[in-house]
Symmetry: C2
Subunit: 660 residues, 2 copies
């Protein structure tokens, strides 16, 4: 093992295995996860070429093989539990993506959620066995966020009992679906349903796009790859254009809404239930943010422990760059954020399952808050993570720019999270809509519950910008509880400001919608403050749950750093509301420095506790073993430019020399 890392591990104040168990939920989970990961690590079938050295077409071919092998192996190993599937896939893919992924993550789940029993019988088995390879086609070239704006039509023809699918304009061409470009032979297409001359809005249809057996596009179908992207190289995100393309009536997913053979439309009983998948995916993305940020921190912190550079005291050996205060200030707040998001992710997962059970019993009462919370937290955690991964990359100096670090791939494959499954600004505004509703509710004398219950204190006049002096604001900067309170006050204040500005604009503009647009900066700010409060609150509560003293101590430091760093970065918000005083901000900044020093000896153990085997596989800088520079040199030698002949371009240069 690398000597620097060995020394760091020996000096830690806690046993990282215990913290890993906390993150996994239990020691048993850790053990089972490792069993599954070892299936991959020990299986020679999983040794593939490093995708970094391949062209996009080659990457695609390798990725298809990887995907297929993975499906085969999961069957063989009997891996079926969703968590276990995730562990298996994460390690196997090592920050890359899979062309048949959407068959399992979107096509099959949508079939199960929205298909009738007969439909499931018809398509489920063959899609599970990859005879049918499906994808999910919603976004169009000209339309993303605004679902009502989608232009693809499915017009029912009662004569033949078929739907006629059409892409009437260039903007209506389906665009982006993963696996559509080359891999899929079916797609669930979202289209405006028209029957008996009336449009009933978006519905889902199973559309065969390529012929089974030959894989050739079917007549009436134009399909292909949308071209090279920022990341997702091995994924064939595709386009789909349909021209008077007919499918049988039975291909409309009819568990809820239906079209009868004569064309009569039967509307679904409850529209809210279709929220379910969206809420699930967004709460999953909160966990994804946590995982990607944790990986980036693992690489940057291990490398900072191994890299020696420059000098603090003249004449002494070059120190580890982790000993520079500026490096600690770059990385440790991100490490603290990674832990915060791990706990937020775990909370979202638990809450989703709890509320999903309630929904199963017909209780939909908590769905609106869950919907608002997942939207905001998806945006809050993915924006933060997006910036943080790049900060980790740039904290690795030059080597962070090389694919050997693993960081560019983590970044480019993570960043779409800010846009897909709900563009982040739109998400923040959805949360704001819930906050404004809750504010109005409180204002009209009704209590609200859940994470927004702090708004109940508003009518008591405690939160009035003019009367800030009466707030009970002796914040103790050493107490996570007291800091949570400070974040709560900030959120309450910004929600109130947004609500009042919105009211003022409504009066001024005489249009709710125009007023909403002209207050949207304030609304986003309020949502961010609300989400930040939730993250601080959940982290603080988690720390109190931990029994083991050594683990509690180190997490408490991270929790304090997370909370204080947020105050320092948003000092204006806390000062303006007189939540914190000017001299306290100075104390906050000094306390942050002291926390950096206190966390320093545990930094490597804290990233070890994340226990990412795929970091070791995907990043030379994040590996445990050997000399990082020898590993880098070995890696570089595989560059395809080193394999090809140098003479072609040189001959060209030579032929030019005479002219120059």
């Amino acid at each position: 093992m690398n000597q620097d890392l060995q020394r760091e591990r020996a000096g830690a104040s806690f046993n990282p295995e215990l913290l890993t168990n906390v993150l996994d939920g239990s020691a048993e989970n850790t053990q089972r996860r490792r069993e599954i990961e070892n299936l991959i690590l020990k299986d020679p079938d999983f040794q593939h070429e490093n995708l970094n050295f391949l062209s996009r077409s080659q990457r695609y071919e390798v990725a298809v093989k990887k995907s297929a092998t993975m499906v085969e192996k999961m069957r063989k190993f009997g891996i079926a539990d969703p968590d276990e599937i995730m562990w298996f896939k994460k390690l196997h893919l090592v920050n890359f993506v899979e062309p048949v992924g959407l068959n399992y993550s979107m096509f099959i789940p949508t079939l199960l959620n929205q298909g009738t029993t007969a439909q499931q019988e018809k398509w489920l088995h063959s899609s599970q066995g990859l005879e049918i390879i499906g994808t999910y086609a919603q976004t169009e070239l000209g339309h993303g966020t605004h679902l009502r704006g989608l232009e693809t039509t499915a017009t029912y023809d009662p004569e033949t009992q078929e739907f006629i699918l059409n892409s009437p304009t260039v903007t209506s061409i389906k665009w982006w679906p993963g696996g559509l470009g080359k891999t899929s032979n079916h797609a669930i297409v979202l289209a405006q349903l028209i029957t008996q001359g009336k449009c009933y809005g978006l519905h889902a249809f199973i559309v065969p796009i390529r012929e089974l057996g030959t894989h050739k596009p079917l007549p009436g179908i134009t399909v292909g790859d949308i071209g090279p992207k920022f990341g997702y190289d091995e994924m064939d995100n595709g386009y789909l254009k349909m021209d008077n393309y007919r499918i049988p009536r039975e291909n409309m997913l009819m568990k809820y809404a239906q079209v009868k053979p004569d064309g009569t439309y039967v509307k679904p009983l409850n529209n809210k239930l279709t929220y379910g998948t969206m809420v699930f995916i967004r709460s999953f993305l909160v966990g994804e943010s946590a995982r990607c940020l944790s990986k980036a921190c693992t690489i940057a912190i291990r490398y900072s422990a191994v890299r020696h550079q420059s000098e603090i005291k003249p004449g002494e050996p070059e120190p580890q760059i982790l000993d520079y205060q500026t490096q600690q200030y770059k990385l440790f707040p991100l490490l603290a954020t990674a832990y915060a998001f791990q706990f937020v992710g775990a909370y979202m997962k638990e809450t989703y399952h709890r509320i999903n059970e309630d929904i199963g019993h017909g209780d939909l009462s908590e769905l609106p808050e869950l919907h608002a919370l997942t939207a905001g937290l998806k945006a809050f955690t993915s924006w933060t993570t997006n910036t943080a991964i790049e900060a980790c990359r740039m904290a690795c100096g030059g080597h962070g720019y090389s694919h050997c670090s693993g960081l560019p791939n983590i970044y480019v494959n993570f960043t779409p999270t800010c846009t897909f499954e709900g563009e982040n600004t739109v998400m923040m505004l959805q949360t704001a809509r819930f906050l404004m509703k809750s504010y109005d509710q409180v204002h009209s004398g009704k209590l609200v519950c859940g994470m927004v219950s702090y708004l109940n204190d508003l009518p008591s006049q405690r939160i009035q910008p003019q009367q800030v002096a009466v707030w009970p604001t002796v914040v103790d900067i050493n107490s996570p509880d007291s800091l949570t309170e400070a974040y709560k006050l900030r959120a309450a204040r910004l929600v109130e400001i947004a609500a009042k500005n919105l009211q003022a604009e409504v009066i001024h503009r005489n249009s709710k919608e125009v007023a909403w647009n002209l207050t949207s900066i304030d609304l986003v700010r309020a949502s961010e403050a609300h989400c930040h409060y939730v993250a601080v609150k959940l982290f603080t509560e988690k720390v109190l749950e931990i029994q083991e003293k050594s683990i509690q101590a180190v997490l408490r430091r991270l929790c304090l750093l997370y909370s204080l760093y947020g105050i320092s970065q948003n000092a204006g918000d806390f000062l303006q509301g007189s939540i914190i005083t000017e001299s306290q901000i100075t104390q906050v900044n000094e306390r942050i420095k002291a926390l950096l020093t206190a966390i320093r000896p545990d930094a490597v153990a804290l990233v070890d506790a994340f226990d990412f085997q795929d970091v070791t596989l995907g990043s030379v800088l994040g590996r445990y073993d050997g000399n990082v520079y020898e590993n880098l040199f070995e890696w570089a030698k595989k560059s395809p430019l080193n394999k090809t002949e140098v003479h072609e371009s040189y001959k060209y240069l030579k032929s030019l020399q005479s002219k120059l």
Copy 2:
């Protein structure tokens, strides 16, 4: 032309051509730039394949040909002025990089600056004609920032009058030089000079690495490509390992330091002069930041004018996304920043040339401030631009993730600017060293001049954290001058805090160096505030210079937005020093909203004024002409995945189906 853009242009309050002239320096400059750009646009030899669709090896081959053609054409067209070369190259490369670039940007200039007349006679002609293709090899696998830590040795052997070059360890392997991997046959190598048993530090040596004629690595030389990176795909950044590799004594660049035939070392008269190149490149990078940010704004703002999405009022047609306040808030402060940096870049260029002339006359007095200012501004502008390009990309929704937008290439090829030519945090600390020196100087009773002259006011006790109430701080948020004053007070305050914290740590730690490290967060913060002040000041001064009223009006709005946005984002700094009051912050936020509305009608004209032909070439989203969606569809069809047969991977999938 696109109808949305046409309407936007018709509605602008000013003539963008006049603003283009301001940015170019004069109408004559604009005209000459366009003449040169037209040489490229009209020449069929410049029509090359789109690099986005090629593999890395293919991109390299195309890039070499591009580079070579470019050299040939510049000779033919008689383009030799540095500005004209830059215009020519920028348009020709369209956000890509060139493998022979370092021959012209580093090898030849270093030869001219540090070589004797005899050395220039020997190598200049053949390197200008690409017979010799040179690069510049400084960074090593284990060493970047800390030049004294470089391990490569050049040991003089008086018997043969040769230097023996060695890479004694794996960490000493030269790493990163552009064009080293495959293209170059010579390198200027930085190595520790050892003669007569003594090490004299880093010196530059001309080292042949490949045989002329065959291009094969010479015996004793191990050379190759360092592998795939985040961007710079077509560049063969390389490694170089030397084993007892001998070069003649005459290959040491001897204009300043010399080694006599017997091995006697003659030291240079003045070390400061070697700063020159560094200062030049860093001040050039400030301009690069401005250009890249301006390009990103051009693409994002044009696309936001063309893209229609969602609804503000129900039932009305989908509005341009530029009408959403959140979109304006994402983009207009960045547009204002782009203009600020354009003027900062122009100032740095002028200042460099002025001071360079002084240096020519033996006057080095302004060099230290210029050195400190370029370091800080390089870091300040490149960090801001780095984040801003990504913000522009993500403001384009899904299409920002496709290479069709041009934004991923702008980002990946810009981001190294944060690390090369001086890592940004290190740069900020260099500026801080100058600020601390200036602070001490003022403290000891001597006046300082230049951009730091505000520190002269410090001993008058006006800036004491305890006595803030006496500051003359009635900031007028509608006056750029008054806002400049506010930024000045913020900088003065943060410099003072850093200086006092540093002093306290020096007393506490009894070591200047340890104290420096433990104050470095404060030091970086002070440098950032100083640079931010400089940017606000230069923008404000530029606005006052403009005669034409319509241009002055629109620039004044941008200048206000830039200044107010910075205050809003760093409200804590301004509140803490009581530079601005709490109620003023609320006014600042409202004023920002009003400015967004005021700038909205001019947004497209403001990016048109940047007049980037390469945006039109490199970005489907940034083009003027036609329907953006038809252009996107045409672009996508070129994807290599669409050209290759689909059957190979499908056969693989089919073979698996039986097993599943």
